[in-house]
Amino acid sequence: MQPGVDVSHRAILYLDDITVSFDGFKALNKLTLTVDSGELRCVIGPNGAGKTTMMDVITGKTRPDLGTAFFGQTIDLTRLTEPEIADVGIGRKFQKPTVFENHTVFENLELAMKTDKRVRASLRAKLEPAQRDRIAQTLTQIQLAADADKQAGLLSHGQKQWLEIGMLLMQEPKLLLLDEPVAGMTDQETERTAELFKSLMGKHSLIVVEHDMEFISSIANQITVLHEGSVLAEGTLDKIKNDERVIEVYLGR
């Protein structure tokens, strides 16, 4: 287990001058971004702006060519592997809902649950009553209690999105990265998701990448606009909506 994250200076995530290039193409170009503890940050931008690459850098999937990425004051993300980053408290939801399709909903949550995840511990692992309660609680939270024993592959697209969010919550992360969490959801599901995210704010920090402007306006206070691998604009919804350059490259007139 890694030490806890130090947020004594308010910020939980520091990306500083991050550059990532693939065959000369700069997916991220001196990206600098700070997210405060407990904040819900929305990240928008046209396709290819570097949103997913940014998440890849934070979660250890891609190593930056230049720049630093710190989680709190002390944890250097560029030195950790994916499982280690998950272990220090960063959870990630993929763009395409990714759950264990052959496992039941219950087993999906069980696998994600924060616990000792080494082989030896898993050989002996037995669910304690408190852990069962924790899973039951999350099942209710993501409205899948009735489907606990259903194979995850049989869920609807929206339900899979919820299950994946539920799996993130089971990890008890400090920071959640959510890549297009409401894609493919019905309006009602989208609304419930917005409520869920707002209830997580404060206790967790969230970074939400979305295209759905309506959804963003229902949850966001701070928005970052990415364009060509760096930050184009940052601020409240109103400020962003009236920013000339943002209208130019993303929102349209």
């Binding site: 979660t59 592997t81 994916e82 499982p83 998950a86 272990d87 959870g91 990630r92 993929f94 990714t98 759950v99 264990f100 399709e101 052959n102 496992h103 039941t104 219950f106 087993e107 069980e110 696998l111 994600a112 924060k114 995840k117 080494r118 082989v119 898993s122 050989l123 002996r124 692992a125 669910l127 024993d149 194979q151 799996m167 990890q171």
Partner: protein
């Protein structure tokens, strides 16, 4: 034991149902009591007498069944296709074969201290790696340790470099092929292309004695049962659920905080050791081990057993190994030239029409009936 074919059940269920345990008990009784009695006690002219040929054939097939189970752990459940599992089987066989060679003593053709092939090469002493192989327990240790070390080292570098899918399969083919070439050389010190044969004794008992054969048969049957129970226990534990998660979505698993490397290494090394022990039981029963066991085609055949039986099911691979080897001994006696065609055809048909293997036939029939 219908429960074997289900997808991982809920964690609360016991290892086997009452029917499953009863079937295992019946199998043990047959292997340890019935077969030896029919083989040794019942006179040869009785219709109930079992021949040495039959006992050897079934004993050999049970060794293959263990290999299929081991392959299923890594391929069926973890999604890593090894096309080199024959090398672990053969190394286990060679490790125990060294002991058997030394137990020949002076009964070889040249009546020398050394095995015939070393006399033939004009060697004056055993090479260093033959040291202590005249001790039974040391060779038993080697049977497990040699496949384990090879699998661990090979697996560590392959899995750490995140070599996956067809690339992994190809380098496992290369691995077994390289070992085959190495063992073909006379200078390697394992009998070259003849390998080891003409075994005489094991722990002082003559190998050709019916009692020894019956004991080896019973031991193999118990080992097969043990492997089945162990596989089941692992698959029902959380490790089993992590392994299938590696197969289905390794990325999700990594971002959930698991390091797949150690899980893969665990099951890969265990699988290799299971094969090694199977090889060690195979050699005294069949009476020969040579580098042919390491040929790439042999390892591919192991994968076919599992695919035909039903990968990702507990009993499917056992069924597949049994069926194909039964068919093989029929074909190679009656129509030897058609065997490979038949095997290829069977593999294609099963892949196309029975992706879950022959073990899924009963469930399919049940569903077809309204």
């Amino acid at each position: 034991m219908t429960s074997g074919s289900q997808v991982l059940g809920s964690p609360s269920q016991s290892l086997f149902g009452p029917k499953g345990w009863a079937a295992l008990g019946a199998f043990a009784l047959v292997a340890v009591v019935v077969v030896p009695v029919l083989f040794i006690v019942v006179p040869a002219d009785s219709p109930f007498h079992l021949s040495a040929y039959f006992v050897t054939l079934v004993g050999k097939m049970m060794c293959y069944c263990v290999v299929a189970l081991a392959m299923n752990l890594i391929w069926g459940y973890t999604g890593i296709l090894s096309l080199g599992h024959g090398v672990f089987f053969a190394l286990g066989g060679y490790a125990f074969g060294m002991y058997l060679m030394r137990m020949i003593g002076h009964e070889g053709q040249y009546q020398s201290d050394l095995p015939d092939f070393m006399v033939f090469l004009d060697w004056k002493a055993y090479p260093w790696y033959w040291s202590f192989t005249d001790h039974f327990w040391y060779s038993v240790l080697l049977v497990m340790l040699v496949p384990a070390i090879l699998a661990f080292v090979f697996g560590f570098f392959a899995f750490r470099s995140r070599i996956k899918g067809v690339y992994f399969s190809i380098i496992t083919q290369a691995l077994t092929f390289a070992f085959m070439l190495l063992f073909f050389r006379n200078d390697t010190g394992f009998g070259g292309n003849n390998g080891f044969t003409d075994f005489k004794r094991i722990l002082g008992f003559r190998i050709a004695e019916p009692g020894t054969r019956a004991a080896l048969f019973a031991l193999t049957a118990l080992y097969l049962m043990g492997t089945l129970i162990l596989s089941r226990a692992i698959l029902r534990s959380k490790v089993g659920r992590v392994l299938t998660a590696i197969r289905d979505s390794e990325n999700r698993l990594m971002f959930s905080g698991y390091n797949p490397l150690w899980y893969k290494l665990f099951i890969w090394t265990l699988s290799a050791v299971l094969c090694g022990i199977a090889g060690a039981l195979y050699v005294p029963q069949v009476g020969i081990i040579n580098p042919g066991e390491m040929s790439p085609a042999n390892s591919i055949e192991i994968a076919i057993w599992v695919a035909v039986g039903g990968r990702g099911t507990l009993l499917g691979p056992v069924l597949g190994a049994g069926l194909i080897n039964g068919a093989k001994s029929f074909f190679t006696q009656s129509f030897p030239e058609y065997w490979l065609f038949f095997l290829g055809l069977l593999f294609i048909l099963v892949t196309l029409f029975l992706p879950k293997g022959v073990i899924s036939i009963p469930a399919m029939l049940k569903r077809a009936k309204p």
